[in-house]
Symmetry: C2
Subunit: 427 residues, 2 copies
Amino acid sequence: MNIRLYNARILDLDESHTVRKGEVRVSDGKIAEVLYDGENMPEDRIFDREIDCKGNLLMRGFNDAHTHSAMTFLRSLADDKPTPNWLEEDIFPNEAKLTDDDIADFQRLAIMEYVSAGIVSAMDMYLRPYVTAEVFAAAGMRAVIVSGLNNFTSSLSELEDQFDRLNRYDPLISFKAGIHAEYTTSREILESLSGFVREKKTGLFCHASETESEVLGCIERYGLPPVKFLASLGLFDFGGGIYHGVHVTDEEIDILREKRVYTVTNPASNCKLASGIAPLKKLYDRGVKLAIGTDGPASNNCLDMFREMYLASVLCKIREKDAAGIDASVILDMAVKGSAGCMGLEDSGLIKAGCPADIIMVDMARPNMQPVNNIVKNLVYSGQTANIKMTMVSGRILYYNGEYDLGFDPEEIIRRCGERTDKIVSG
Amino acid sequence: MNIRLYNARILDLDESHTVRKGEVRVSDGKIAEVLYDGENMPEDRIFDREIDCKGNLLMRGFNDAHTHSAMTFLRSLADDKPTPNWLEEDIFPNEAKLTDDDIADFQRLAIMEYVSAGIVSAMDMYLRPYVTAEVFAAAGMRAVIVSGLNNFTSSLSELEDQFDRLNRYDPLISFKAGIHAEYTTSREILESLSGFVREKKTGLFCHASETESEVLGCIERYGLPPVKFLASLGLFDFGGGIYHGVHVTDEEIDILREKRVYTVTNPASNCKLASGIAPLKKLYDRGVKLAIGTDGPASNNCLDMFREMYLASVLCKIREKDAAGIDASVILDMAVKGSAGCMGLEDSGLIKAGCPADIIMVDMARPNMQPVNNIVKNLVYSGQTANIKMTMVSGRILYYNGEYDLGFDPEEIIRRCGERTDKIVSG
């Protein structure tokens, strides 16, 4: 499939965040050519599809570095409740009822939400990694699947099997070793996993330092806070990432930097569950690698990286009592390049030949994007999912002008998700 | 113009926030009839327009209780800077260059943004109230214009003139007495204004207790914090409203309740400028009347009540360290009924015969609104401007399926706003 996207503004996430007019040509899942206005335009190509971008913006799409896609079915089910009640009364009992088919449909609904919001890849932790791989690959969306190993579900041998099989399954799919969290995984499992991580020279991903009580629990159990404890077992010897990282200590921040472990910030979830505001500025200033994720729809409630970028920035200003905070360009980089790096994807943030064609078109004609005093700040502070006109993953247009091309019928998925949710929630 | 909106779900903001299937008939700017499924449907009417809502949601639109519409031109101009620099380097010098025509076009751009976001009315404080009145009335959007009297612009006699003329100007337009803030208005002006407010038995509106330094300044000048000081002059004897109210004391909270003064919360602005998190739960628990506003695009940066509702809720959870926070239904009511009450508009929040036809249609087929475990929480926690399919003000459809009907050419306004901004900012 050869696609030509012409009459565009092209935003490269390089140091200067340059915007230039030109066109992008896509072939075989990659960017084949980028031609800027004034350059020689070879006109001899034949394209399967040519799209007039009408001056709208092309850029690398958002990478969602932490989510639980199938939790769409829990959206709005249990909001405005204290967190322990939320988990025990609403989340765990309903998740226990899920079939593989439920999970597949709830993930398809999430994929609709991702692509309509300009998200090109998701780092997904959930039950049934093989279902996830099948669903995402069939829809054409990129997924990095993380195991959520813990005392109650899955095992190290299953993880090893997933690691081998899912990293060879499909070019859109990869797999990373992960545990749910320190507080749900025994020391015995963690020690075995440490052997695996070091044998494969691979990073380890997990929820960590999300809440104060979790940190206190870990200190009670092991005399150390979670990041320090997990690092002491060698689990971060080859990097990886922690989700949330709201309550990390200064010493742990040094560990994260030294071990090149990403902190994936999930500001909407941290707000909804009153977990706190992550020390993003300190993490950034000290050189910790940063990424952004939505978390799942049960704790967000939507899958919208515009919301996450906005929140990451303004919560930092509130926490630091400083309107300067972190510059919007850094935040945008986190949501695209930082997240890609965390997920093990190509992370240049550039629109140039040879890069994966994971491209979004941002509608600049909506009033919230006008005037254009600063396009990056427009994206971070006024950008909305309504501005997403097109989402392309690996050269395939999955969403364009409100229409989906995901290999399933969107109306049918919405209908089925409604029925499945009613059955689970009332059952 | 008789319009029939059929095959809808209708959300009434009554105590139970009921949703029922039915249709709404609109005539002469009012809701003429609401017919629910199962009721006798008179079919003898002739309509100018019939719209199949396809099961989407009809509800009262959002009322934006605090904004400076013309500040669209400052969007993204001066973000990520300490607040004093922001005002003195970027805002004031550029505002000084504005012509009436500039203001009119920048307001038209804001009106596009309001209606595409489901906002049916705006309480606007800015230079040139007569320009504002003309622009909003011509576009068909409702505006409550508030004077921003201060030591540098306008005068009490101008305010009196505006009060008389703008309250008789057009059914879509009304006017409220306002000062910019205590710190920009002399005691002499405030005392004269107090006479006017009591003569007209009318409320007084102003920025108040937005920042800590503002509160400290007022205490230094008068020995009292702003709300207490303004109340001591009798300025709140007939109610009114304060914008922001981030740093109000307990005693001031009692004054706000007793005087029936609204607190208009502006969470995005309070975040961007690092002003702090307003004590929303305390205000609510103590019975203060609450409304929500976007503030202007210089300090937000977009005009999106979904963002404000979301932030109002989650910042409360962060401040209180309690995921229960304030229920989403209360937040939704603030953005519709609370704001309407603050602005002196009909505030039942009901879709019923006789009510103003200020109605929005919310697209329930986008994935972020599915499944529907709780429609109110979907609106507050996952709702986005992308969900707005239609915005009707006073029975006239101003926005439908991405198209505007505002009496001007949207593309032309975007082009002109770009040119005007470039000229001002570079000039």
